[in-house]
Symmetry: C2
Subunit: 256 residues, 2 copies
Amino acid sequence: MSKVSIEDQLTSTLLQQTFLDGEVLDIEEYKKSVVSYVEIEQCVAVLSDFQADCSYIYAGNFGEFFGLSSENLIIDSAFEDCIFNKINSDDVTERHALELQYIQFLKNLPGEEYRKYSTFSRLRTSDSQNVNYINHRTMYLKKSSNGSIWLALCLYSPSGNLQTSTGIDGRIVNMQTGETIASEKYKSLSETLLSKRELEILKLAAKGNNSGQIAGFLNISVYTVRRHRQNIIQKMQVSNTTEALRTALVMGLIQV
Amino acid sequence: MSKVSIEDQLTSTLLQQTFLDGEVLDIEEYKKSVVSYVEIEQCVAVLSDFQADCSYIYAGNFGEFFGLSSENLIIDSAFEDCIFNKINSDDVTERHALELQYIQFLKNLPGEEYRKYSTFSRLRTSDSQNVNYINHRTMYLKKSSNGSIWLALCLYSPSGNLQTSTGIDGRIVNMQTGETIASEKYKSLSETLLSKRELEILKLAAKGNNSGQIAGFLNISVYTVRRHRQNIIQKMQVSNTTEALRTALVMGLIQV
């Protein structure tokens, strides 16, 4: 049985890419661009290098919000846990799921077209007493000539929109036209993380059916249903079916 | 009788500022920052120098939308009419009004605090058949040591939000906290463009009262009401009261 959480799936998708020997990236140019960007936008920007598995964090005024000083920071990971820790964990999971869908989407684009797209999401902070909303965007700045994603830029800025909402309003945006791509949320993710049968079982469980009832509907043994449920729990890296349902709902894998 | 349109008022506010002899701005650094910004954001950016009364236009992918080539453009005006012409003229007026309020607001901030704020608005294109929405932001990058606004940056990017709305959703945003400032729209503008009495008359006219009725309400002569109405029309640079009412509504000076 494989045990693959959304986070693990995203991490391995990006860090297990192959890079060509001898291909060198002039990251200094990109770092300068990001410094300029932050100077204008006053946001927090994280430039992640997936080949080196490290990140450069640049904090404008908005850095105060995360307790980041205005000094630039280098961290020994392509994933900025120091920021994720300050964001609602359900929202981080959903954001990771959006990134997986984004990678899937970009794979099918020709040439430099990927530079036209960015993700957008709106994340809650982890402080449940004083919820603040953060606009989060990701764009890929550079691919290797073999198609591997080399450099990503994550942007964190305050959201003026204080309306409560379920989910992160995750979108893939065409920055040239404003068009929103793949509004059917995380469809490709549901296809890759859970099997068709697992999804079927999760949907029946969401409707309040127990394992016996699900077995009856699908004409399989209760033992098989239980095995599938266990796999779902492990794949989603949750403790029980209730959590699996909540996470699947957040991720848009199932609807109520 | 003065004849001051919103556009004239904004133009004179920014172009009739005084700059100190001998104070030199290294605009090249700012130009480089904007080039980097556009490279990442793929938007259209206009860097306006109010001392020299000229603008530098940088077009990322979104430039195609305005028919701008990716080559950088220098224009002989701090106001980018080549872009304004492609935007709904009511929205341009309302955007100018927002800028006037923004200038007013920034005047009261100490030191470098003005760098924390930006305006946000959502403008319709001038093509009434195929309306597209454009996110528009302005921020001031540099003031002279005497407080005059030296360099402004206007950013045009596609809006993914296609909901129709009345008005431009104009806001002054604290980029550090996301807080929206001065939600009571263009209050300070209404105070500077129209007199208290003119505003009173406009509000009564909006309720369908004719000059005679307004004269009765305010206990003044019909002649005085007519004179005020004429002043309003000239100040707002419109042809008649109907247009004045429509413009005032768009600007948020009056409510229905």
